[in-house]
């Protein structure tokens, strides 16, 4: 029952985002095409060649009634048709698929890292509440978490790329490099991943840390912690085995919500490091007012977040034996 409501919720949200994407350009003054070519705040007007113009016209289908447009739009989405990118002059879906792997790599590795670290540090902090390590962790994590990700990324470029020349400042791979082995390719990719991933980890670790610390402080007062201590179990063991799992339960969904913030940060970090992911595409789309691409990127990002929420729900059910059986 619980699962059915959840899934209905996800479907509803996807429908909301799709309708939002459909109506936003059509609600703008004038028709989408004239808006596209003469958007406000544009430095240079976009000149469309006849072929692109025709493609856009068929995509928006403006000569048909609105309900027909909506139906065609939804049908197109189902077939993976997200429209035509003006700037890249290619189907939006092709461009997005190429970029998605980089974003998933970046988001995936940083999410894994900042969650594990945040949860661990939060647990340690709460376990030593009021002590030196707690205060130290609290102040330092709140402080580094205050750096906006784009600023942190720029500082890293200056420090680690320009001054120390340790890591590359941009891109996901060394351009025009032929790899002789898979290992060489993988290490080049990791080498490029290091700075953007570190930036994301640092700017997002504080939120998870605080959530876990607060939740742990609640758990520490529970009777079963006392029971474990009465059995003679060591403090570290009690924290790991008895407290952490219970502390994670109430915050899994909140941690999942943070993936939303995380994606916001990814757009900025990919922009700063010129990392060729969906976030960077979104920035390009904004810069060149490439609206079909902008909306396609937005849709993909939303889908990624819904997937993350779905995973969090599954994890939650796995963690809590009281839910597993019904």
């Amino acid at each position: 029952m619980h699962r059915i409501t959840k899934i209905t919720g996800y479907v509803a949200i996807i429908l909301v985002v799709l309708s939002f994407n459909f109506f936003l350009p059509r609600l703008m003054p004038g028709d989408p095409l004239s808006f596209l070519t003469g958007a406000p705040g544009m430095d240079m007007p976009i000149v469309l060649d006849e072929e692109t113009r025709a493609k856009l016209l068929t995509y928006y289908g403006l000569d048909k009634p609105l309900s027909q447009q909506f139906y065609d739009y939804m049908l197109g989405i189902l077939h993976g048709d997200l429209g035509w990118s003006i700037y890249h002059n290619a189907p939006v879906s092709d461009i997005l698929i190429g970029a998605l792997k980089w974003t998933l790599l970046l988001v995936g590795t940083s999410t894994a890292l900042y969650m594990v670290l945040g949860i661990l540090l939060g647990a340690i902090s709460a376990w030593n509440r009021g002590g030196k390590s707690d205060v130290g962790l609290l102040v330092s994590l709140l402080s580094i978490g205050s750096f906006p990700p784009f600023f942190l990324g720029m500082l890293f470029i200056i420090l680690f790329s320009v001054k120390l020349n340790l890591f590359p400042a941009f891109g996901a791979q060394t351009p025009f490099m032929g790899y002789s082995s898979l290992l060489e390719e993988a290490s080049d990719i990791l080498y490029h991943l290091f700075l953007p991933a570190t930036t994301l980890v640092i700017s997002h670790i504080g939120g998870v840390y605080l959530l876990m610390r607060n939740s742990m402080l609640n758990v520490i007062g529970e009777d079963y912690i006392l029971t474990a201590r009465a059995k003679g179990m060591a403090e570290w063991y009690i924290m790991r085995k008895h407290a952490m799992k219970n502390a994670l339960l109430p915050i899994t969904t909140m941690i999942a919500l943070r993936t939303g913030f995380m994606i916001g940060g990814t757009i900025l970090v990919e922009t700063v490091f010129a990392y060729p992911g969906v976030g960077r595409l979104l920035f390009d789309a904004v810069t060149y007012r490439d609206y079909p691409l902008l909306q396609g990127a937005f849709l993909i990002i939303t889908l990624v977040i819904i997937a993350a929420n779905f995973v969090a729900d599954m994890v939650y059910v796995q963690l809590d034996p009281r839910l597993r059986h019904d």
Partner: protein, 287 residues
């Protein structure tokens, strides 16, 4: 009288937190900059001098690519950033609280409103803001409008769950029993009790708005006529030699630090307030 006494007691408890005091001091510094900007700033931030001047006696932090004094830009930038943050958090706080009170108190309304809130919370905030901002004319008021639209749902959810637990308290039940009107109960018994929680929420929302505003400006979606710190960073970032020369030291670093310290001050204040609202966070031992 009781209000003043309460305020006094609140301040005495707040004073205990060193983080809270540090945060307050930093915030006051930036508020002072914002309020007295015309008296503090050496120049009008729009006035143009020789471009790309290095720091010197005329321009303590040099000038930018079109010759504006960077220090003056920073001081006026405090106005833009803090005004947006303050305005948005207060207005979305009021809307969010009103909806939160009503939805916590009236079940049907609450049920439907929560589905809307869920949808708002599931959609990634910054990407959504970027998409809307890309379609709208970039102006301060448009930004404020977007932030308010996206800011109220979290407040509503927090206030609602607090109202739900307050509703079952004896004094509220008692007030209902003797036939007190709903509006009276909401204003007299429930609102004062959700207030501390609301203050924490306002502070956190303000820091989110500052991050969102500077991010949008950094991406080039800010209001070009009202230069915020994020906008300064945007122009610095797109300047070709920013990373490979020393320009970053006076053009990029100060603006970034201003944003960072403002967020830091709000984070510290928020944490100190949360400790007051949630005594368990103080590390008291329950026996």
């Amino acid at each position: 009288m009781t209000e003043i006494k309460d305020l006094n007691r609140f301040w005495n408890a707040y004073k205990e937190s060193r983080l809270g005091l540090i945060g307050l001091a930093i915030l006051l510094f930036f508020v002072t900059l914002a309020v007295f900007a015309p008296y503090i700033a050496p120049y009008d931030p729009h006035e143009m001098f020789k471009p790309m001047e290095h720091p010197g006696s005329d321009h303590l932090l040099g000038t930018n690519d079109i010759g504006q004094d960077i220090l003056s830009e920073l001081i006026y930038g405090a106005r833009v950033s803090l005004f947006i943050a303050f305005f948005v958090s207060v207005v979305s706080g009021i809307i969010g609280t009103a909806f939160g009170l009503l939805s916590g108190y009236f079940e049907m309304f609450g049920f439907f409103l929560m589905r809307i809130v869920d949808a708002f919370l599931a959609i990634p905030r910054l990407p959504l803001i970027i998409v809307i901002a890309a379609f709208m004319r970039p102006s301060i008021w448009n930004l404020i409008f977007i932030f308010i639209i996206l800011g109220w749902p979290i407040t509503t959810r927090i206030i609602r769950s607090e109202v739900l637990s307050l509703r079952t308290r004896n004094y509220v039940e008692a007030a209902r029993m003797v036939g007190a009107p709903d509006t009276y109960i909401l204003m007299k018994h429930i609102l004062p009790n959700v207030f501390p929680l609301l203050v924490v929420r306002l502070i956190i929302e303000a820091s989110h708005v500052i991050i969102a505003e500077s991010s949008l400006s950094f991406l080039g979606l800010g209001d070009p006529t009202a230069k915020s710190w994020g906008m300064i960073l945007h122009y610095a970032f797109v300047y070709p030699t920013i990373f490979i020369s020393d320009l970053w030291m006076w053009w990029m670093l100060p603006a970034g630090l201003c944003i960072t310290f403002t967020i830091l001050s709000l984070t510290f204040i928020g944490y100190a307030l949360e400790e007051l609202v949630n005594p368990r966070l103080r590390g008291m031992t329950r026996i």
